[in-house]
Structures are given as C-alpha cells and as structure tokens.
Amino acid sequence: MNLWKEFTKGLIVENPIFRLALSLCPALAVTSNVYNALGMGLTVMFVITCNNISVSFFRNVIHPKVRVPVMVISIATIVTVAMLVLEAFLPVLFKELGIYLSLVVVFAIILARAEVFAAKNKVIPAMMDGLGMGAGFTIGMVTIGGIREVIGNGSFFGYQLLGGWYHPPLVVILAPGGFIVIGFIIGVLNLSEKRKKEKLERAAATAGGNV
C-alpha cells in the first residue's frame, strides 16, 4: 500500500543521514556509543512524527507567509514537551543527551519533512512519513554509533566485547572518527548503488545486442 511506501522510503532509499545528508551534526555529535545514538534517534523519531502530524493538521490554517515560523514554533513546543517528559521519567538519559536535546529544534531533517511533505499531505500519510524518516534516522544513528563504539571502545551497548589486548584507536570516538565513519558508510552505499546500476545497464545492453 501507499502508506507503507511512505514509511519504508525513509529507511534506506531516502535515508535522512546517508541519502538526504541532512542532520549530520547530531550524527557526528552523539554517536560515540550506541545507547546515546539510540536515545537521540528515538527522540527525533517522536518529534518528527508529532510535528508532521501537527503541521499537516493545521496546513490549511497556517498562513503561507509565516509558515516557517509557525513550523518552528510547533517543533520547539514538541521538543520542550519531550524534554520535560524525559527529565521527569528518564533522568539518566536526559543527563546523557544534555545540550543536544534542545538542538533537536533546529535539526534540518525535521523542518525539511514538514515543509516538503507534511504541509502538502493529509495527516495519516504525514504521520507515516515522519515515522519512516525517524526510523531511518535512528537506524543511521545506531549504525554509526555501533561502528564507533566497537572500534573506538571495544564494546557494544556498554558490554565489553574485546578484551584488554585490544587498544582502541581514540580518534574513532572523537569527532573526526564520526566524519570518517559516515564517509565510509556513504561511500559503500554509493558503490553498491553504482554496481546495481551497471548490472542493469549491462543486462539492457546484452538484451539490446540480440536485436
């Protein structure tokens, strides 16, 4: 169904981090371990879905000239609510994510989905788009976080995988490591896409040659 497509497109084909290359800042900043990456991913998923719903719901009421400020107000409200709830019920995670949480307001991906999708679509598709994009963002964050934590700290989700003999390269945990890991992942994805395209072309060429 179409709704399902709205959801799945965010996972890989239009993955916010690897494909749309939006919101790379948090992808660098909070992915030095899996736990933080997952927490941030789920928070963004919540915010982007709520915001898509709210923008889509009010899309006929919002004046086009002030649509961006109104969207930002909507995002800011949702983020503040998310922060208050996290502080009250998950104080440990709240402490870990710290200042990055308030930065969620200015994440490009959230405003981008509101402007590109939610403002032009009905509530349900907008919600699916938000869920998909949020899930894609979370997958991206966890992938980067997982790679960085295993290589840079020898552990995964806090469990020590590699013993004392392993001396992790510190650079992977620090900011440059984020750039390097994201670069490699985007590279691998592009390469596999190129291969796929070449295969299709070759298949087309041989088919054409028979004529």
Partner: protein, 186 residues
C-alpha cells in the same frame, strides 16, 4: 480561521496567525510542565540521595552542613559516620561536578559524578572504577597526578589527562577545604 485568497496578506491576519500559534504552544508547555515538574524534582532528589548512598552505604540519614553549599554529614543512627563534599572543577568541557565521600579521619572513600560534559568513552572513564579506585583511602597529601604509573600516586588516563587532572584537583581542593572547616569549627 480558514483564509481566502483575496485579502490574505493583511498584516492583521499574519500577526493573528503567529500569535495564536505561539499562544497555543505556550498553553501546551505550561500544562505539561505543571504535571512533570514535581516528578522531575523528586527524581533529582532521589538521584542525589542514591549517589550519596552509594558512597556511604551504611549511613541512615544525610544532613546538610551549615554554611557550606551541598556538603552533607552522613549519619548512622544519629552518629556521624562520614562527610560528603561537593567538588567542582573545570574539566575538558565545562565543569565536572562530584560528590566526594570522606571518612572522619579525612581519607577518601570514593567519589560519584553528578554532572559532566567530558568526551564519552574517553574522559568519562575517569568516573569508572579502574581510575576511581586509585583514590580509595588517600588523603589530600597523596593526591598527585602522574602520567606514568608510580606507587602511591594517581595515574592519569591515557588521552584524558585534563579530565584526570580536573577530578584529582577538584577532590584535593574539597579535602583541603574540609580540613580548614574542621579546624575552624574546633
């Protein structure tokens, strides 16, 4: 408030639109805050008490020390068992805030981090047992940070010297202050 295409651009309508959006947002936040604020406060107190309990497990109550911010006496059945000091020192990024447990003869029991912004996976190793255990039983005279392991001294974490120094100095200053305070009140 559905708008028509004709007199859509009047300043009044645009302003009203923004105002209503902001008003609605304010109301929502106020309502949520009303419900979550008391819970958050309880959580904060509970987390603080928990870190104090971890430092001095045998203590039954904690009473604030007068004239000192965030200093506590850990008492066991009404008798003084240990001191808990609040230490703050500039780290790699912002301040590192600690609770430091001290015995009656001013030796360290240990410390717990309250808040910090050190590098995850690197600086935050200073709050893990491997580094923290070095402090146990030491007085401030023995708190000297070295980069290469030396008997009786604190060995810094490779790649996180600044954080190691912040923790060591923060604790040292708190201990010196405690001695001064105890001498004064004698």
């Amino acid at each position: 408030m559905a708008h028509s295409e004709h007199n859509d651009n009047s300043m009044f309508k645009i302003t009203l639109n923004l105002t209503l959006a902001a008003l609605l947002s304010g109301v929502i936040i106020a309502i949520v805050y009303y419900f979550t604020a008391p819970i958050a406060e309880i959580q904060r107190v509970r987390m603080k008490e928990q870190s104090m309990k971890e430092l001095v497990p045998e203590a039954t109550s904690f009473t604030p020390i007068e004239g000192k911010e965030e200093w506590y006496k850990a008492e066991k059945d009404g008798e003084l068992a240990a001191y808990i000091l609040h230490a703050s020192e500039k780290g790699f990024d912002g301040h590192v805030k600690l609770f430091v447990g001290v015995t009656l003869d001013q030796k360290l029991i240990g410390y717990k981090v309250l808040s910090h912004k050190e590098t995850p996976g690197l600086g935050d190793q200073a709050f893990k047992p491997k580094f923290a255990d070095q402090f146990k039983g030491k007085g401030y005279q023995q708190l000297e940070l070295v980069k290469i392991q030396e008997e009786g001294k604190i060995t810094a974490i490779t790649g996180a010297t600044i954080t190691s120094r912040a923790v060591t100095n923060g604790i040292k200053n708190a201990l010196i202050e405690l001695e001064k305070y105890l001498n004064e009140s004698k």
